[in-house]
Symmetry: C2
Subunit: 439 residues, 2 copies
């Protein structure tokens, strides 16, 4: 290696505000993958990037280097269908992937979706899927391609082959206060998504108290960067900005969210969950080129519900991945908590707010998520029948049902949930959920 | 530990430009010492400090925490003499400590000096001392105190007990491009010096092509910060800014610099070496309170040369630390290189410049210094009789003598030295050496 690529020289250049060359960025990513950069050098550069920023060109180079860090990206060229994926920056009660993927697949657009696990206050698609008995998210790259060829749909976890640099860099960012950096977030999200073999991408970038980026202006900045970089890399991409002040839908917790997704596929989904589902699905179909307008896309997506084709696609995916598809018709086959205790309203009035972050922390207390990556998850616990902002309640009326497997956690989480829900006199205003489409 | 002191929280605060509390800074330094912070967390905070800076209060807190990181500082309160030390930011041919320390000690001011080894282009006092056969720089804290009590003079290496955090942090800074940060440099220098047990301190902050900080404004900024922090910590301190464009004196290389120091003690030192020696010594005596003016200090220091008391103090120190004091009268007892080859001038005229950095790299090629901390040092090699800027030379006249132990190195280093010395028509101007006194 030339001395110009010595880690300390690359670090010094970014430290001094220079624009890194593609070769320098590749050296960094290779260093993260093969260990030729020490962890303390990776973290020093991560901090310099955090504070000095990166241009769109640098961010694209970083994304490309991370995408190729496994030496391979999924080759889905044998698959004749257009291929679209969706990614969410993470919210509370966000189970949309579970039912949106089969809806879009039922419209003739393949959905090759590689997802993550929950960490901190947001849940993960893989944890939700694993609450279906037998469901296997650990497909090899070959099995993934084969299933996509057959069903046009696969929901799996990160493989060791694809974009391994992100795993290393993400774990370092988490413990060195370098998470909230737009170029680093962009490269982390897009390197994994673009390695899947997709043609187009739709992003759900959330803002509000329950979102990764609480501030709307910051979330918009992230959305714009994501769209710019992915588009520059040849993948047509759009982002929608959605509010994450109250949890999405009425269920929070792994099996309880699977249950809500099944309800959505049966045409009985909560209005807010379906609003975001359609907004994302419309963009996926339009970008994939199977329809010309969002109106036509909406009609096509609605038909997958009314005709049952999306539900059937969901069953097929569960079977293909070794799961018990009978959960679709018999939800009692999903993990059940020991206690299911309603939370009653102490005041009459209107629900003023449901603090998504407060609900998430209460669910975490029940064991629905993880504080650390190695923690186990309890699939059965969480909340169902959550009240929505603007709804009328009477004293003793139901605000939610708490599902718990531990008495102490039941009591504490119930009190936390109670504090997260404010009931008051005024009717208030329901905030706009889908705020803006970018790209 | 409270979550507020989690490494990532402290890192995030500095990343966002906050002023760290003393408790946070102590947590960082403790983390560096006992391993409770991971290396990648230390380096992330070092980069955040590099880019966000530190206030004088933070720098003093960092210095104090590093000074106390061994749980102990040298207690010299049993020693009735005033105690002064001198530190140089490092230059080429800077052997001043070797003869200044015995001169000051001969004036009745104890000099408890803990020094470092050479790294990169600058030499280290310990390497120079070790070219005296038998000289032991590894005294225990007890032996160091005992010798100071007897002689008022000890020149030793870092002990494991004193300020251990600096060793850890310095090695990380070197490989993460976080060396040139004023608060980090301040804390590194002062934590070690203030742990020695001194009353007052004089600093030689160098600028120019052969200095650690080439830019004079930057060097002045460092000098001001050093003086402010040390003074705030209760140790009267002054700094002098000195030029480091050409090497100091006529000898570069370990034994060759010891030889020049002996010449200085015998009243035959080069003018530039003596100019800086007196400037530093004057400030040490004034700050230590044994004289009222720099003029009186100068007279006192000159007397230690003319009366031979400094040379005798030097002999006593060599004996006390196990060395062969006969080198003072018989320099042939110092390590001798296999070849001693003069470099002849190819043009007549005046010496326009002698590039200190070029000379240092040529000496490094001979083996006089280290590129990496683990490299061995050849004590015999280097340059003597170096020409000084402004001197007249004839064709064939001597520009230097190259001392080498390896033929290939001899040829290469001679060519490098030749390129470092420029001879031209004009007489030119000798730059001012001692530029400014700060504090």
């Amino acid at each position: 290696m030339s001395t110009a690529l010595f880690p300390q020289h690359v670090i010094a250049r970014k430290r001094d505000g220079a624009t890194l060359s593609t070769e320098e960025i590749q050296s960094f990513v290779r260093g993260a993958t093969d260990g030729s950069w020490a962890d303390y050098q990776l973290s020093a550069l991560l901090m310099a990037i955090f504070l000095r920023g990166m241009s769109a060109v640098e961010t694209a180079a970083l994304t490309a280097a991370m995408m190729n860090s496994g030496g391979v990206v999924a080759d889905l060229s044998n698959l004749k269908l257009p291929k679209a994926d969706k990614h969410s920056t993470g919210g509370v009660g966000d189970k949309i992937s579970l039912h949106l993927a089969p809806m879009v697949a039922a419209c003739g657009v393949a959905v090759p979706m590689i997802s993550g696990r929950g960490l901190g206050h947001t849940g993960g698609t893989l944890d939700k899927l694993e609450s279906i008995p037998g469901f296997n998210v650990n497909l090899s790259l070959g099995e993934y391609r084969a299933q996509l060829g057959k069903l046009g749909l696969a929901l799996i976890g990160q493989t060791a082959e694809l974009a391994p640099a992100d795993k290393k860099l993400y774990s370092l960012r988490d413990v060195t206060a370098t998470v909230e950096s737009i170029p680093l977030i962009c490269a982390s999200i897009l390197s994994k998504k673009l390695a899947e073999g997709i043609d187009v991408l739709v992003l759900d970038v959330k803002f509000g108290r329950g979102a990764f980026m609480a501030d709307k202006a910051k979330a918009r900045e992230l959305a714009e960067a994501l769209v710019a970089v992915a588009t520059a890399m040849g993948k047509p991409t759009r982002a929608i900005l959605t509010a994450m002040e109250q949890p999405l839908g009425r269920g929070v917790g792994n099996a309880l969210e699977v249950l809500e997704s099944i309800e959505c596929l049966k045409g009985r989904g909560p209005a807010d969950t379906m609003e975001v589902t359609y907004a994302l699905g419309e963009q996926m179909l339009v970008l994939a080129g199977v329809v010309q307008s969002t109106e036509a896309a909406r009609a096509k997506l609605e038909a997958t519900i009314s005709q049952g084709s999306a539900l059937e696609k969901f069953r097929e995916m569960i079977r293909a991945q070794g799961g018990d598809a009978r959960v679709v018709d018999d939800p009692a086959r999903l993990p059940q908590a020991k206690w299911k205790v309603p939370l009653a309203a102490r005041h009459r009035g209107y629900v003023q707010s449901v603090d998504a972050m407060g609900v998430a922390l209460a669910a975490l207390r029940l064991g629905a998520g993880r504080a650390k990556a190695a923690d186990p998850v309890d699939h059965a616990v969480g909340f169902s029948e959550l009240a929505k902002v603007g709804e009328r309640v009477e004293v003793g009326g139901r605000l939610a049902v708490v599902h718990a497997n531990d008495e102490v956690a039941l009591v504490e989480a119930t009190r936390m949930l109670d504090n997260a829900i404010v009931v008051g006199e005024a009717r208030g205003e329901t905030p706009r959920l889908v705020d803006e489409v970018i790209g």
